[in-house]
């Protein structure tokens, strides 16, 4: 490979005084005064949340209003900062419409002081029950306030569309003798 000696021109007198450069710099900064401002006045103006944003983890219901979590505890095990704590429970006997679902969480706590918003819980969930949604502004006055309990998680999560209705399909299959 050929070496190309690059001739470095000596600075002219004007360049050595810096003054023309400073003058052009002053002109640049002066122009900036009249350019539109880029600031977002936060509490009044909210940023547009891009799709795929990883906000606060939430629990969701399916369109039938059924809680999707079956307390398999995979998210609890995968959670790197151990922010999730699940107490598994049985489906109450008096709720016949949910009897075909395996289990449900008795308590589901996510400690938002520990959560690192990595999204592994969402990735690992076999029931598509936990999602990191658009919520990005979370604050509280005490440590207890920063722990999202089950009802809060469902309130934040709301209902998301479901493509599978897994447990309904299992129920139908069982009624037909699990033929396939």
């Amino acid at each position: 490979m050929a070496v190309i000696p690059l001739e470095r021109k000596p600075l002219t007198f004007a360049e050595r005084t810096y003054l023309p450069q400073i003058a052009s710099g002053l002109w640049t900064t002066f122009k900036h005064i009249f350019q539109p401002q880029v600031t977002l006045s936060y509490p009044e103006q909210r940023p547009a949340i891009p799709p795929g944003y990883r906000g606060v983890p939430t629990l969701v219901r399916d369109p039938n209003g059924r809680e999707k979590c079956v307390s398999c505890q995979l998210c609890e095990f995968v959670c790197p900062p151990k922010a999730i704590r699940i107490t598994p429970g049985e489906i109450p006997a008096d709720q016949a419409d949910r009897a075909h679902v395996e289990k449900a969480p008795q308590a589901f706590d996510i400690d938002m002081l520990r959560c690192i918003y990595c999204g592994l819980c969402q990735e690992v969930c076999p029931e598509e029950a936990i999602f990191l949604q658009n919520q990005y502004s979370l604050s509280g006055y005490t440590r207890e306030e920063m722990v999202n309990h089950k009802d809060k998680l469902y309130e934040l999560g709301g209902t998301l569309p479901d493509q599978h209705y897994k447990w309904d399909q299992k129920k139908t299959a069982a009624e037909h003798g699990n033929t396939h």
Partner: protein
């Protein structure tokens, strides 16, 4: 109308005038801090401080919102915060000098105001009477002598803080001040060589410098920045260095010295340093305007007397006086804006570059400049 004032004892008159000027300078220095925040914001594409508002002003339509967006009430909230917050004195400092330093910083800054004229009016004979607290012949010498005392406060603050960053900051500040003082003084000598023509009583008065920029004719009416551009340039650069402004703010360069000499200070003591720095800027800008930018003359070749004739207010000394003060303050404010403008344009120098610029470039240049003008003035004035 103001006879009763002139019948008062001269000492009381002086006190009243001094208080009046301090009452202007102190809020002006505070306003500069707000202007600094606003100008910085605009140059960086931000709106800057625009939230604080007093409720009963918020009720005024349009004006209230405009003032809020301009952030003028942040001045009050800033001042209130600095005044009422806790005054921490670290345990490891020399308490006496630690508390003395901010007071010492503010004193020279306000003392120099006394000899800086800020306007003029014409008496019945048509002679210009400068508006100044003390119209003394040593004018500029007094400014240089007293404002240099401000460095003692920085040294005291740095030493009394008993901590390495303040100490380094104060050492840098003092070395820088000494280096640029020479070039600064040399650069203004041509102005006073020109003013002190042979056969006239010698003077260093700043009002006299303005008088020489208000003479009739092409050379008489031109400001000294036109006649002596090199002097003006050296004086301006030295002014930036003397007031510890960017790109010469080695005394408090945040990136390498935390906060420089005022690292250990907080609350009102810190704000005194702040006000002193801005007062130095205002006085320095004022001196530059007086020496090189025609003082209270509205335009080059249009002295105040001509402007007063054009407006038909020659017979009203009060109106002419106010007009001259407004013109002078407008120029000073423009200079302050220039200070802030340069801050966001020129990056901070390295310390060795500052020393090199001061001793190897500006000092020889100012001496050469002085020699050139000394010979030229000797030839012209014979």
């Amino acid at each position: 109308m103001f006879d009763f004032f002139f019948q008062l004892h001269p000492v009381i008159q002086g006190l009243a005038k001094g208080l009046a000027v301090i009452m202007v300078i102190f809020p002006l220095a505070g306003a500069c801090s707000l202007a600094e925040r606003k100008v910085s914001a605009w140059m960086q594409g931000r709106p800057g401080p625009n939230r604080a508002i007093v409720p009963w002003i918020a009720w005024i339509p349009f004006l209230g919102v405009f003032l809020q967006k301009l952030g003028v009430f942040h001045l009050m909230s800033d001042g209130g915060k600095l005044l009422f917050k806790e005054e921490p004195v670290p345990g490891h400092v020399n308490k006496f000098y630690f508390i003395l330093a901010p007071a010492l910083a503010i004193m020279p800054a306000f003392t120099t105001v006394a000899v800086v004229p800020f306007g003029a009016y014409f008496d019945a004979a048509g002679a210009a009477i400068p508006l100044v607290l003390a119209n003394v012949d040593i004018g500029l010498l007094a400014v240089f002598a007293v404002s240099s005392l401000g460095i003692y406060s920085l040294i005291l603050a740095g030493w009394a803080s008993n901590s390495k960053y303040p100490f380094l900051g104060s050492i840098r500040a003092s070395a820088q001040l000494i280096s640029y003082e020479l070039a600064m003084t040399m650069s203004v000598i041509p102005v006073f060589l020109w003013i002190n023509a042979p056969g006239q009583p010698g003077t260093m008065s700043l009002a006299k410098a303005v008088e020489f920029q208000s003479l009739p004719g092409f050379w008489g009416g031109s400001w000294f920045i036109v006649l002596m551009p090199i002097s003006a340039l050296i004086f301006l650069i030295s002014l930036f260095a003397e007031t510890n402004r960017h790109p010469f703010d080695m005394a408090e360069s945040e990136s390498d010295l935390v906060g420089g000499f005022h690292t250990e200070y907080g609350a009102f003591k810190w704000s005194l340093f702040f006000v002193a720095e801005y007062s130095h800027m205002i006085i320095g800008s004022g001196v530059f305007v007086l020496l090189f930018l025609g003082g209270w003359n509205p335009l080059p070749w249009v002295p105040l007397s001509t402007a007063a004739q054009l407006l038909g207010i020659t017979g009203l000394p009060l109106v002419v006086g106010v007009l001259s003060i407004v013109i002078f303050l407008a120029k000073v404010v423009a200079m302050i804006f220039f200070f802030m403008w340069v801050r966001w344009t020129v990056p901070r120098f390295r310390y060795d570059q500052i020393m090199k610029l001061g001793w190897q470039k500006l000092l020889p240049l100012s001496i050469a400049n002085l020699l050139f003008y000394a010979i030229a003035i000797a030839v012209i004035q014979k």
